[in-house]
Amino acid sequence: MLRNLLALRQVTQRTISTTSRRHFENKVPEKQKLFQEDNGIPVHLKGGASDALLYRLTMALTLGGTVYAIYQLAMASFPKKQN
């Protein structure tokens, strides 16, 4: 069972492109090494510094936006008196 797992982990060979114009190199083995490093970092941050930046941006916008939405809800709940 464990042997099957290990075999699956060493994913099948990636075919090397035989085209003369190589627009993309096969970087999958490098990525596999990076993301399988035993450093305890969760997958959403494991790619590097840009992951953390994007995460912080997303969370800031989400939380900020939510606070603003609740504020607008509060404003809308108490209509201004008209003279």
Partner: protein, 261 residues
Amino acid sequence: MTHQTHAYHMVNPSPWPLTGAFSALLLTSGLVMWFHYNSFTILYIGLLTNMLTMYQWWRDIVREGTYQGHHTPIVQKGLRYGMILFIVSEIFFFAGFFWAFYHSSLVPTHDLGGCWPPTGITPLNPLEVPLLNTSVLLASGVSITWAHHSLMEGKRNSMNQALLITIILGVYFTALQTSEYLETSFSISDGIYGSTFFMATGFHGLHVIIGTSFLTVCLLRQFKFHFTSKHHFGFEAAAWYWHFVDVVWLFLYVSIYWWGS
């Protein structure tokens, strides 16, 4: 340094379900602010956080499957069930719009003139652009099958070409349908005909755009060597979704464009 001794996928804790849920709140309250208070801010933030969540969530799934090897056969089986169930839910979604169409068109009311199409409505000629659209989507169904077989046979160039052709056909459909929308003599507010026509074809068009985007992501992943001849579930899921979009169009064409004209 404990590692699992089973073949299932225990995911890392992730912030994306939370940001996704909040983005849904922002999208809905954003719509309210737009409809009632003429303000776009919250809606824009909602759209942005929704896009960011989708990008990062699916990026992480690619990392977990392709880079970390978590998509064992049993995990893949779960993913297959998931995609199938999602598509079934979408079938039910469209069933509602078809129900509305048939309810209105089989027994047209007195105020429509007791006929379908209703009095005053000039429907589109089904043998013109709608027929072309049908052939475009059917051809895209052929090209995506060609792409799949090429992938399974390890023919990289064929796969790239066939998938690109499929995407181009999808974009072509969207362009043709957009021009048709601008050409209609009726709008969504022209009675029940307009409502049923634009709700059904409109949501279909949105699904074509979603399907085309999914296929484009697959093309980019294919360029980056993510798929192997034996393991390419992301592509299969996109292909299933694409066939579903094609079949919905066939029902739309026969029911609304052809029978309904």
